[in-house]
């Protein structure tokens, strides 16, 4: 295996060969290579096909700004689409495939698109796929999606973990090039807590790609030496393979560390990537700059690259893109490229310099005032057609072209909080504006300081002043002697004339013509230009293309570039995987699962569970032979109503309210009165929102003069507690009352049915009299159970039966449920789940979440008279609003099907027996429905206009979703024991 284009030297380890595969073919590279550099060394320039026209493409850059060399990395469940070959580190056994081509990269059937390019110009979607509308989803979209697009997903679950982490520092330095390293050393020596983040896998930035000396060392050697000192400082954390992706409020930065992307499989226990949230007191942006191309016809052929990238490949990776390279430049950088190539023994065919006063070169012929008109070559550049200063055409042969159009400072982070960059005439580029994020300063070429010497000194100086602002004294390091050449550039954006296509955004296939078309069709604002042409909207976010588009739009509009302005830079700086944003919150870990203390007992009973918020609650307990959930639920209901059943109600919210003003406090938060509730009694309470709508309901038991236990619904436990704290702290701050949520402190069980007292008498210690006389309906009290265990007993009923709720400290919950079941054996006790609970509460006509649905008032719920007018309570004033109190207001009533074989469906709307069915004739709706095994009929409760006065009326319950209409009779919502005799028994 030969690496035809491999040179000597560079920052790769020639003693450590690595095998890899691209599109099924085996190659060899070295440790330190990227996939792109290794492919170039193997004389492979064709690495991808473009998005729209499927044009053959090779790498344009050597970094994360790459638009073209986008590949699928790895295979199977670790396959990662749209990975930049220019940043993918080579490892042994790496497998990559090209994407967006069929059947192969060299012969791509869809390249036919290129022939029809006139149909695919800017805005073609809007113009072409207009009609018929029925084709949008079924015909056009599938075709477009298949034809366009990038890599494919593996459709398998990602086996790797992603982490989130938190870091704190005095100074965050973003980028470890000359400016960043010099800043880090300055701050590190001063003892400041420093985080130095670097996107690359080695530090040094351009120092690794250029041949300029620092003192008597190469740039790379100086970077290594500096890094060694930084590594010896315990106060400095160096994070390579880490991209800062966004600047957020108050000095918080997001960063993605690619912990394991350079390996086939992460090390044991290591995540693939980590999302860091970095809290910094000060931050320094040393993100460098990105080179920009000059557009000319067919400037997208593989081999046509940026000059800086060519120097990177040759100097850092010892891989030349070709044996003969032409240079196209508008500044002195092109000449630097020529010198470096010549030094490496690579032939430079010509330096095509747009400047008429271009300097001469000892390395190659300089064609001053010339420009590249066109390129030739299939699957790679072979020849350039160059227009000389005198207008004549000369053909220049080459297998690669190094294009230098100047450098754009990477201002992105300074714009993440709506800062706008300002135009810097000397370097013809945007530099960070004065309105960047507070605490963020900028140094080096990111600040428009383009020389190595300038970067080193500005890094050190900026670190000193950033630290000074937080009270840390630092001394700038001595700057090594380094290149300090001025920028000598003549702006040149694109070569005019000709009828072909000159590419700006290579990833999204946007050409100079497209920008002209956008201008012609009046999409002239930069934001419109972007969206109409898709310029800069690909995964490279236009890092190499936006400036060219802006410059051309400015020229067409007769404005200056700063007048045209830039689009807004938003996080993330580079594409970020969804996996790392999700972190560990995947699948079952997306939210925590809460289990009650009797969960494992319920599991043993074979319970079927249902998610209620984060809680898992037993829904029913199937017995052997039961094949349908209704059989289990009916049995649980009948057994409870006949003898006794037990249900875990631990998930209900519980709030302990204590203090001398506790009663008065409850009086404020419940619409009904609580001040006079006797000790040892429980009362139903309805909470309203301030706007008069019902918020939540529950019970409050008074255990002592100054001690209440409030219960809330399961769903609202958190929000009601929050509301109560708001009332206590913000509205009545001087009340002597303290609140604490005790939802998780007590395990609580409902024991319901005619034999519930008998069962509990076996549990509650005998010194506590729980006879009907001593412990009547709505009594509550502190008792002991099972020989001394403290417990709370409430005689309350949701089922309508004689019923209690007994609470024990959480850690006794499992023992308690087992004890209850054992003691209840002689009464044939059954456990029942949330379904049976629901059936029984509907039979009793008790409102629950379906009725307290955020639109209903106390009046709607049939509790209008409960709202006390004699006191101040939340919601009482606005509940009196006229609109909420009309004569035909919705009232909660019950419904029974006329034919008891028919179902009542929750959600059905109520319409008159005959006549039209529409929103105008709507009379109300059914909120809850169930099959009542006692009544042997489906039943429902819901809201009906003026429902209280319409008992006996026959209506249609209409369910348009299922095209179902059932005749129902309006009845009392209290289907079972309307007089409440059972619960008082």
């Amino acid at each position: 295996m030969t690496q035809k284009n491999r040179l000597t030297g560079g920052l790769i380890d020639h003693t450590k060969p690595l095998e890899f595969k691209f599109d099924g073919k085996s190659y060899q590279g070295y440790e330190g290579d990227t996939l792109a550099s290794a492919l170039l060394a193997n004389d492979v320039r064709l690495m991808g096909r473009s998005f729209k026209y499927h044009r053959p493409r090779g790498p344009l850059t050597a970094g994360s700004e790459e638009p073209n060399a986008i590949i699928e990395l790895r295979t199977g469940n670790r396959q990662e689409p749209n990975t930049r070959a220019t940043t993918a580190e080579l490892y042994d056994g790496l497998t990559a495939n090209s994407q967006n081509r069929w059947p192969s990269l060299r012969r791509d059937f869809m390249a036919i698109n290129d022939r029809f390019s006139q149909f695919f110009a800017a805005g073609f979607y809007y113009k072409t796929f207009m009609w018929p509308a029925a084709f949008w989803e079924k015909v056009y979209e599938p075709i477009i999606r298949k034809a366009a697009g990038l890599g494919s997903l593996s459709m398998e679950a990602d086996p790797d973990a992603y982490d989130k982490g938190f870091l704190h520092c005095d100074l965050l330095i973003i980028g470890a090039g000359p400016a960043g390293l010099s800043a880090a050393l300055t701050a590190g020596r001063a003892g400041a807590r420093v985080i130095l983040s670097e996107e690359d896998y080695i530090c040094g930035g351009r120092l690794n790609s250029e041949t300029n000396a620092l003192d008597d060392m190469s740039g790379a050697e100086w970077a290594l030496q500096t890094l060694a000192e930084l590594q010896s400082l315990p106060n400095v954390r160096i994070m390579t393979r880490t991209t800062v992706i966004g600047a957020y409020d108050h000095g918080i930065y997001g960063a993605v560390e690619r912990v394991s992307d350079h390996m086939a499989v992460p090390a044991d226990g290591a995540p693939r990537q980590t999302l860091w949230r970095i809290y910094s007191k000060q931050a320094l942006l040393c993100a460098g700059s990105t080179e920009r191309p000059i557009a000319f016809e067919n400037n997208d052929r593989p081999g046509i690259m940026l000059g800086g990238a060519v120097r990177s490949y040759v100097n850092r990776w010892a891989a030349t893109p070709a044996q003969e390279i032409a240079i196209f430049t508008n500044n002195d950088d092109g000449h630097r490229t020529a010198a470096d190539l010549t030094a490496k023994g690579v032939k430079v065919s010509a330096i095509i310099d747009t400047r008429t006063d271009a300097p001469t070169s000892e390395h190659a012929t300089v064609l001053a005032g010339a420009k590249v008109k066109d390129s030739l070559g299939r699957l790679g550049v072979k020849q350039l057609s160059v227009e000389l200063a005198d207008g004549s055409i000369r053909n220049v042969s080459c297998e690669a072209v190094a294009v230098s159009g100047g450098w754009n400072p990477n201002v992105h982070m300074t714009c993440h909080q709506r800062g706008r960059p300002t135009w810097h005439e000397n370097i013809s580029a945007f530099v960070p504006g004065p309105d960047g994020p507070p605490g963020l300063s900028v140094a080096g070429s990111a600040a428009g300081i383009m020389s190595t010497h300038g970067a080193l000194t500005s890094g050190a100086k900026s670190a000193v002043s950033a630290l000074k602002s937080i009270g840390i004294k630092a001394k700038a390091i001595r700057t090594p002697k380094a290149e300090d050449a001025p920028v000598n550039l003549q702006p040149y954006w694109y070569v005019k004339g000709g009828n072909g296509r000159a590419w700006l955004d290579q990833q999204n296939d946007v050409t100079v013509k497209d920008v002209k078309l956008a201008h012609q069709e009046n999409f002239r604002s930069v934001e419109h230009l972007k969206r109409y042409t898709t310029l800069g909207m690909a995964t490279d976010q236009g890092k190499t293309s936006n400036m060219g588009g802006l410059a051309i739009m400015a020229e067409l509009a007769g404005k200056s570039i700063p007048e045209v302005g830039t689009t807004i830079f938003r996080p993330p700086y580079t594409p970020t995987s969804m996996g790392v944003l999700g972190g560990r919150a995947v699948g079952k870990d997306f939210h925590p699962t809460r289990k009650t203390p009797s969960h494992f007992w319920a599991e043993e009973q074979g319970a079927v569970f249902v998610e209620v918020g984060n809680w898992l609650r037993a829904q029913w307990f199937p017995k052997a032979g039961e094949t349908h959930w209704r059989q289990s639920v009916d049995r649980e209901v009948l057994a409870t109503r006949k003898s006794v059943g037990v249900c875990d109600v631990t998930t209900l919210g519980k709030v302990d309210v204590q203090g001398t003003d506790a009663a008065e406090f409850l009086n404020k938060i419940y619409c009904n009165g609580f001040a006079k509730l006797a000790v040892g009694k429980t009362r139903y309470g309805l909470m309203l929102r301030e706007d008069g709508i019902a918020m939540d309901d529950g019970t409050a038991g008074r255990l002592a003069e100054d001690h209440f236990v409030v219960t809330t619904t399961t769903a609202n436990a958190v929000s009601v507690y929050r509301h109560m704290e708001f009332c206590r702290q913000c509205l009545w701050p001087d009340m002597d009352v303290q609140l604490i949520s005790t939802t998780e402190s007590w395990a609580q069980y409902a024991v319901a049915g005619p034999n519930s007292r008998k069962l509990l008498e076996k549990i509650v210690d005998s010194e506590f009299d729980i006879s009907n006389e001593a412990f009547p309906f709505m009594a509550c009290g502190e008792v002991t159970v099972c020989g001394g265990l403290r417990a709370r007993l409430f005689r309350i009923s949701f089922s309508g039966e004689l019923a209690y709720e007994i609470a024990v400290p959480t850690r006794y919950g499992d023992a308690m449920i087992r004890k209850l079941m054992e003691a209840g054996k002689e009464f044939d006790v059954v456990p029942y789940g949330t379904e049976a609970l629901g059936v029984m509460r509907i039979e009793k006509g008790h409102a629950a979440g379906n009725e307290l649905n955020g639109t209903t008032t106390a009046l709607n719920l049939g509790m209008g008279r409960m709202v006390s007018k004699k006191k101040d309570s939340i919601g009482s004033i606005l509940s009196e609003r006229v609109g909420l109190n009309e004569d035909d207001a919705l009232m909660q009533v019950g419904f029974k099907p006329v034919d008891n074989k028919e179902p009542v469906i929750a959600g059905s709307h109520l319409m008159a027996k005959t006549g039209e069915v529409n929103a105008k004739t709507d009379q109300g709706y059914i909120t809850s429905a169930a099959y009542s095994p006692i009544l042997e009929s489906s039943i429902g409760i819901g809201f009906l206009k003026d429902g209280g006065n319409r008992k006996g009326e026959i209506l249609r319950a209409v369910n348009p979703l299922k095209n179902q209409t059932v005749l129902v009779e309006v009845v009392s919502a209290h289907f079972v024991d309307p007089e409440g005799e059972r619960l008082r028994a």
């Binding site: 108050h250 008065e664 702290q729 913000c730």
Partner: protein, 95 residues
Amino acid sequence: MIINHPILGPRDAQEFTYLGDASLINRPDWQADDAAKQFYDYQYLRDNPAGEHRELWFHEQGDRSWLVVTRNTVTHEISKVELASDVARKEGRSK
């Protein structure tokens, strides 16, 4: 964002729940002659300034304090953080 809790020091905004305008502290007198109108205004009418805004945040995953945070809605700069109970007392609320 970072909220400088008056008792606990700087805490990440993720620990808090946001409610809204701190004018919610000024709940009207239920016995006022125009209580209905006052409550209507209290419930529904709010300023929505581009700039300094006093707002209520609840330290739900912390010490359960309600705070009044003075925050610039344009820059997110936080200039003042107070305990809501202190603010409420200052504004004349008691029990």
